[in-house]
């Protein structure tokens, strides 16, 4: 298991956002985390990337404890977090947003190679490389956000609602790309989604959160077939 979380509890002030959450994701697998609003999905990702400190519990990544380590240090250990709502910097150009992802590597040549790699994955970004990010469409921004994460050479990718606010066709594209990247780069991925069906379809395993607790963990397909999950989260 490359990612191992046990008994994780996180508070926002006095409110308990997630409580005693345990989960494990093997290397190279894509885990979809589904659940309704306020289930604690975003909090879980923010805690994993170091933006938020847990109240108790442990988080292990590649056999090492990562509780209390800052986000800027976790990036250097291969953890990349694409936060909610198209996490790009609108005032910077597409190229600068990408360069930012590789900035800690301090290697101009590697950074250039990574840009070529991202452009080959998202040719649209290549066409718009000199434009400011605020001129991009919603889908292109999400590509850029994922591209920036790839620039950091991640081993663990944390994606928070990449489908938010995108047209159905674009959502399908983005999901397919996430699936392809997981396989081709041997990434471990945690994908938080409201679009439960779309996420489970591309995932290896599914984790259902409700009111800050894990209520189901199973193979993604098994969750799709589970009548209770279907009724509660897939809407049929």
């Amino acid at each position: 298991m490359s990612l191992n979380v046990s008994n994780l509890t996180v508070h926002h002030g006095a409110i308990c956002a997630i409580s005693q959450v345990s989960l494990a994701v093997p290397t190279g697998k894509l885990a979809a985390i589904i659940g309704s609003n306020g289930a604690g999905k975003t909090t879980l990702l923010r805690t994993l990337s170091g933006l938020k400190n847990p109240s108790s519990g442990s988080m292990m990544w590649m056999g090492e404890k990562i509780v209390g380590i800052k986000p800027e240090a976790l990036v250097r250990r291969g953890i990349s977090h694409v936060s909610e709502g198209k996490s790009v910097i609108p005032e910077l150009t597409v190229r600068e947003n990408l360069e930012l992802g590789a900035i800690w590597r301090r290697n101009a040549k590697e950074s250039k190679e990574s840009i070529d790699q991202v452009v080959s994955i998202f040719p649209r970004l290549g066409e718009r490389i000199k434009q400011r990010a605020d001129t991009l469409s919603g889908g292109e921004r999400q590509m850029l956000a994922i591209g920036r994460a790839i620039m950091s050479k991640p081993k663990l990718l944390l994606l928070d609602e990449p489908s938010l606010g995108l047209a159905p066709l674009v959502v399908e594209q983005i999901f397919q790309t996430i699936r392809d990247l997981t396989t081709s780069m041997n990434l471990t991925v945690l994908l938080v989604e409201q679009n439960a069906m779309g996420a489970l379809k591309i995932a290896d395993l599914g984790i259902v959160l409700n009111l800050g607790k894990v209520v189901a963990v199973n193979h993604a397909q098994a969750l799709i077939d589970d009548p209770a999950v279907r009724a509660a989260y897939l809407g049929y």
Binding site: E72, V75, H81, I89, E91, L92, L100, W104, S152
Partner: protein, 301 residues
């Protein structure tokens, strides 16, 4: 000839105000604090420059000494005072205001301390070249070799600063941390360190503005001199006119202010010396509350 004179004086003063405005913008961008102590820090750096010029005899050695001194003072202020205040003032009615009020207090402290060390009499900094005006066709301008030198030096420094910001990784880290600190951190930028760097750059820019403001005036320096009050007021107003967030805006704000003051003094009344900048500020704020170069939407803090 009057017209040319007035224009050139305005431009020279304007670039100094612009530099002071840049130093306020750098602080605003890195910590979202309006730093009223900026002119005080510039004053202190200028005293460092005075010490260097007195002991070593060269303005061109004193200038970098002042810049380094200014950078260190600013970095310390950020690390010791501002970082603590920003961290601890997250709730309550004075949350957002506490760091700003603290900078007002700091301005007072710096002025008093400077007065204790250097006060009593005006000290003098001699400029590197003559401040006697050029003579063209028998007419002597106010525009002098010193003013030309100030103009060129400030423009070169601004050019270097803009290259650093646009073309280097440090510049990218500074801009990313200013616009979106969380995304910067998630990309591996050590934002705390970058903030300190922003303050240090600001301190260095303020030091140059202080040194030039002194030699461009009558060369004397005192904690309550009119030159430094003008630097504080003009730097702040130029930054606000420019939108507080934009370096180009700061430069243009400085130039607009320098030219307006110069023309008002020449053609309207010299009694409006301290009123003119505020009239310009209010006019701009009425027409464009976000400043000439500010983004329309309020930025996420």
């Amino acid at each position: 000839m009057d017209l040319l004179n007035t224009f050139l004086i305005g431009v020279t003063a304007g670039t100094i105000y612009g530099l002071m405005a840049i130093s306020m913008v750098l602080v605003w961008r890195s910590t979202r604090v309006v730093n009223f102590a900026q002119a005080g820090m510039a004053l202190l750096s200028t005293y460092f420059g005075y010490e260097a010029v007195t002991r070593l005899g060269s303005f061109w050695i004193a200038l970098p000494v002042a810049m380094i001194g200014g950078a260190l003072v600013a970095a310390l202020v950020e690390m010791i005072l501002i970082r603590l205040l920003v961290k601890h003032s997250t709730s309550g009615p004075i949350a957002g205001v506490a760091p700003i009020i603290a900078t007002l207090g700091l301005l007072g402290v710096i002025r008093s301390v400077s007065a204790m060390i250097w006060g009593g009499q005006d000290v003098r900094i001699v400029g590197p070249v003559s401040n006697d005006g050029f003579t063209i066709n028998g007419t002597t301008l106010v525009f002098s070799p010193l003013k030309l030198l100030i103009l060129v030096t400030v423009l070169v420094l601004m050019l270097i600063l803009s290259i650093v910001f646009q073309k280097t990784n440090i510049g990218l880290a500074l801009r990313a941390s200013a616009h979106a600190p969380e995304i910067a951190r998630l990309s591996g930028v050590k934002v705390d360190w970058v903030r300190t760097l922003g303050w240090a750059l600001s301190g260095a820019a303020g030091a140059v503005a202080g040194m030039f403001q002194t030699v461009n005036g009558n060369g004397t320096l005192s904690p309550d001199s009119i030159e430094f009050s003008l630097l504080l007021v003009s730097g702040f107003i130029a930054a606000v006119i420019g939108g507080l967030d934009s370096m180009i805006g700061a430069v243009i704000g400085g130039l607009v202010l320098g030219l307006m003051i110069s023309f008002v003094l020449m053609y309207v009344s010299s009694g409006l010396f301290f009123i003119a900048p505020f009239v310009i500020l209010l006019t701009v704020l009425f027409i464009r509350p976000q400043g000439l170069f500010g983004a329309k939407a309020a930025r996420r803090a």
